[in-house]
Symmetry: C2
Subunit: 366 residues, 2 copies
Amino acid sequence: MAEQFFIPTKVIAGKGCIREHASLLAALGAKAMVVTGCHSALVNGSQADITAALQEKRIPYFVYNRIASNPSIAAVREAAAVARDEGADFVIGCGGGSPLDAAKAIALLAANDLDDAELFAGIFENPALPMVAVPTTAGTGSEVTQYAILTNDRLQTKTSIASEAIFPRLAFLDATYTLSLPLRVTVNTALDALSHALEGCLAKRAIALSNLLAAESLRISGACLPLLRGEEISWTVREQLLYASMLAGMVIAHTGTTALHAMGYSLTYFRDIDHGRANGLLMSEYLRFVAASCRERVEEALRRTGFADLDSFQAMLKELLGEREWISEAEIDRFSAIAIRAKNIGNTLRNPVQQDLAEIIRRSFI
Amino acid sequence: MAEQFFIPTKVIAGKGCIREHASLLAALGAKAMVVTGCHSALVNGSQADITAALQEKRIPYFVYNRIASNPSIAAVREAAAVARDEGADFVIGCGGGSPLDAAKAIALLAANDLDDAELFAGIFENPALPMVAVPTTAGTGSEVTQYAILTNDRLQTKTSIASEAIFPRLAFLDATYTLSLPLRVTVNTALDALSHALEGCLAKRAIALSNLLAAESLRISGACLPLLRGEEISWTVREQLLYASMLAGMVIAHTGTTALHAMGYSLTYFRDIDHGRANGLLMSEYLRFVAASCRERVEEALRRTGFADLDSFQAMLKELLGEREWISEAEIDRFSAIAIRAKNIGNTLRNPVQQDLAEIIRRSFI
């Protein structure tokens, strides 16, 4: 079967890159909607840079700052109605994964009347509005993917829209905006990126070029993660984390994710554990599970991180994660029952049954 | 200054990929122009696969098979007039670098009335027709670049159109079409790809992601080149060479080329030496020149090829290239005088003066 490589997003990276490349925004339309959360984009300077670039190019805009963490389908529908009412021509998503993914869904829903089934089926009549991604955390990789992950209360998990229609046109990577992140958020988002690169290596859909990008992402993450210990994090490390996260986004754009993400979604949905942390908590036992039948692939992935073996890798993660949450046997049953139905289960190198997932979760919380 | 990464082309790779993905062609328009040379696309099966895919999707098409090696500006103007007369909606370039680059220029000129100055300035009113690239050699990388190299008789060299408008929409990489290539063409085109990856590593415009792709391309080329010795070349090696060439194309899409290409163009223009061979002939002395002030960068690039040092690398090239052409002192003067005026000279890690280029050429033909 043929392999496919496709990342149509133009990625611009470097300090001050939005202001430097403001003219690229002017090509996207006459009116911009800036989609963000309520607070951090103001603190980290990203919103000011975006609005300054829009003002410089005399592009009318409005800011929609009501995107909460793990946005629901209802939340993006509400925002898309505003985009239509205001006549937005393009959407600039600014923030962590939540505003970026919301911006993609808004860009799609502003141009198409879709019920939930149509939205997740990925076939649309009209092209989405052009979308620009300005990540302010280094974890999601959403700036270079065709995915928008929304919280689906009907299915009690996260569900993804996967469509080439929502690849961002532009991604601006300026590590400046990550300088003010608290250590906890830095660690959690770095674990999200690590999870993307690791799962990409261990996905059935891995291809040669995704493996190359994943290996580089793992090399950088493996070198940077042990440095996230509370002292000030240098500019260079911030920039490397953002680059590794982008590479890992390019990886999952091709490979998708696997059982690790499927399990993590339950921890986030039911226990409100941060997405990156959720994956980090489950990561070592997931790797042990896969290694039981695909030892070489897991060892190769670990080797890329610079860790000698799973034990030393696990020890590093333990230190980063600190005290673990407690979860009950009833929760383990429920989470594994939901996770086993996820699409990405079938993409896992070793096929799990529900009991396998339950055991991974159980062992992760000992 | 900000770095940029952008490869909007969708790359599909694998045996039979054109037929398997025929539906992607249907999305590009109602009538196709297939641009190719007069002979090889018939022999290697690519033209039959393309026309079968078009027929299967009931897309009217016509074949324009009058693209010679190193196509001139006049040749692509003539073809663009045919594209307009026939009402082509999209262009499929099929062959080595010449038909692919011609197809890009045709796609641009069919949609825009441009004089030579406007053509090479890279600013156009109308978007180019969508263009599809089907490489049948493993060397040019044109399937993933924004360049079209045309022979410019006024300037007595090759001149490139460089514009995002001419990135192919689709690239189909099927190594089947390279199986019938003579050894000489296989070697020359592999040297072209090697040259792209090496120059990409040693370009002033190199960025982290181009270096990653270049390193992988060099690793593959370094492993495959010594296998090109007259015995039958395996499917795996054919596929690897095509992949390495595509990666190297992604590299120069970001880094551009350097003095090596500038010098090589004179050997091709005045002496009709194949483009890849021309670069291969000059490569070792070019590397020696750059290494004199940037030793570590050259050693790093060589290390990626798997060769211990420049001497062993040079010995491998010597064996592949066989007997060298003879060139006169008058030619050396003329070639270096033309090359030093090329745009890509300024992209060379160590800045040459004309005398440096003359010395590289002289030593390459001892």
